[in-house]
């Protein structure tokens, strides 16, 4: 469940990133520190964007970096990083990005439950501004909870 995965340790608010690579690296570092994956997974999230383009930018201002796991993800994880200044990923329509939702899973199918829940927040047009405005991880958790009430 999304709720069980989203703890204050995997959320950072209003951090500074120099560019999209730095932002994805910082999001990956949260997953690494939580013991969800190793650094090679973070590198593959960046490589995936380099290879396939900025399609991880899902909606205005929101990116969901992720990659195929390669024995480098130990368990399903999610992190949320919000930026003090948005960064550009090179997306035609939805740049710049101020909220990153990083995900990882050892088995692709294990993404499903968590992602189905996560997908709900995008039906709410206020989701991004609300998340971007959160000052603390606790605020982010409360905001995410509010989408599922």
């Amino acid at each position: 469940m999304l709720k069980d995965l989203l703890t204050p340790a995997v959320i950072r608010c209003h951090v500074h990133a120099t560019d999209w690579r730095d932002a994805v690296t910082q999001a990956g570092a949260l997953l690494e520190a939580a013991g969800k994956c190793d650094h090679s997974y973070t590198e593959s999230m960046i490589a995936s964007i380099e290879k396939f383009g900025p399609y991880v930018v899902l909606e205005e201002g929101v990116a969901m970096p992720h990659a195929q796991s390669n024995g480098n993800v130990s368990e399903e994880g999610i992190c949320i990083l919000t930026l003090d200044e948005p960064v550009r990923f090179g997306h035609d329509e939805y740049d710049p990005v101020s909220v990153l939702i990083g995900i990882c899973a050892p088995n692709p199918r294990e993404h499903l439950d968590c992602l189905a829940e996560l997908a709900k927040i995008f039906d709410d047009e206020d989701a991004l501004p609300k998340l971007a405005a959160c000052a603390t991880p606790e605020d982010v958790i409360a905001t995410m909870d509010s989408f599922f009430e």
Partner: protein, 92 residues
Amino acid sequence: MHIITVCGNGIGSSLMLAGKVQEICDEEGIAADVESMDLNGASSSNPDLFITVKELAPELHGNIVIVRSYVNKKKIREDALEAIKAAAAKAQ
């Protein structure tokens, strides 16, 4: 009818899109088997309809509809519903 949603990795964005497309088909009473795939798997598949974003569409061959969003159901409905209906009619 068989629909495949496609993203680069087949694990994140295309799964979310598959969920939204399934919801739309259910709401419209269209019987559809919606599956998500990565670009490699999709390029050797032959579904009734591919649904993807414009960055990846040139890599696919077959009946393709382009959506502006993997996650915004309103946009997905606007972009893909006509193509889904047409593919469903053809598949019958």
